[in-house]
Symmetry: C2
Subunit: 176 residues, 2 copies
């Protein structure tokens, strides 16, 4: 699948997954794709944990309330470090978002579905901290996102979006 | 070029560009790729301006100090709106970073080079505001990033990165 196709066919998938496992080498390729994203001043603020152990997946799901993607055979947890790039500025959010997008596209190409779960797990009930504790994540790393990974059972539908002409223009704001 | 290849071959390019123009339909495809990125709660906080008018490019470069990518025949300016997704939380940075990564990958596939210029233009000297004024960007939209676009004259080198085993693990922090 070429890049443009992957970009346009990728969807946030919230349905059930087949029980087909994600081979370790494919999970690794997706993690490598995440780490291949650019980072502000090359500070490499992103780290990743791939989970494919069924028992560990169960423990992680036990602290996700309400639970999501219970049937996914693998999961990626995204960790972020607050490292100053220059002049008191940190681009850690940009860094992990670019890494996540790379992983979503790599997954799409490899026939997997996923979904960017961030707000739900970093909310005031701090599911992220419970997940981080189970995974042995040390201080200095913040768990910011959960990406389930697996073969989807359904075809997700596209969300409604504004037309191109309402969001993109040429040679000046509002120019069609 | 498949997605995984584009992810691994993409580089931040700071060299000179050939004077080959970027056809409008290709520029549009790259903008569409940006808008195809997911956004938190589908708030679609990202807007884009593609610039391919040589006179306008000159005006924009006149306010970038020090200048970057002077020879690029096209440029994309990324605009962001602060829209609350839910419970006082806004995911606008994540949204535009995902959109930027999509555009960088689409550009890579189409034979163009680019570079994510953010810190330089949103610094305390607020080059972003000067660019926004020239482009007629109204209040409520923040110009957050500049992506030059063109055919590169050189092959950029890869930045030094930490090894995979220092940044990614399986089934627990630090597990190889």
């Amino acid at each position: 699948m070429d890049t443009i196709d992957a970009i346009f066919t990728r969807r946030s998938y919230r349905g059930k997954f087949k029980d087909t496992p994600v081979p370790r080498n494919e999970l690794k390729t997706i993690l490598e794709a995440g780490l291949a994203a650019p980072s502000g001043c090359n500070k490499q603020t992103v780290s990743l944990i791939g989970v494919d152990d069924p028992e560990l997946l169960k423990r992680l799901h036990s602290v996700i309330e309400p639970d999501v993607a219970e049937t996914a055979p693998a999961m990626i947890l995204v960790l972020s470090r607050h490292i100053i790039a220059y002049r008191q500025r940190c681009f850690a959010v940009q860094d992990y978002a670019a890494a996540i997008e790379n992983m979503l596209l790599a997954a799409e190409e490899m026939g997997y579905a996923s979904c960017w779960y961030e707000g739900h797990i970093t909310d005031t009930d701090r599911i992220c901290d419970k997940l981080a504790e189970i995974l042995g994540v040390p201080e200095g790393y913040e768990l910011v996102c959960l990406l389930p990974l697996g073969v989807p059972t359904d075809t997700p539908t596209a969300p409604k979006k504004q037309d191109f002409s309402e969001r993109a223009w040429f040679n000046g704001f509002g120019n069609k």
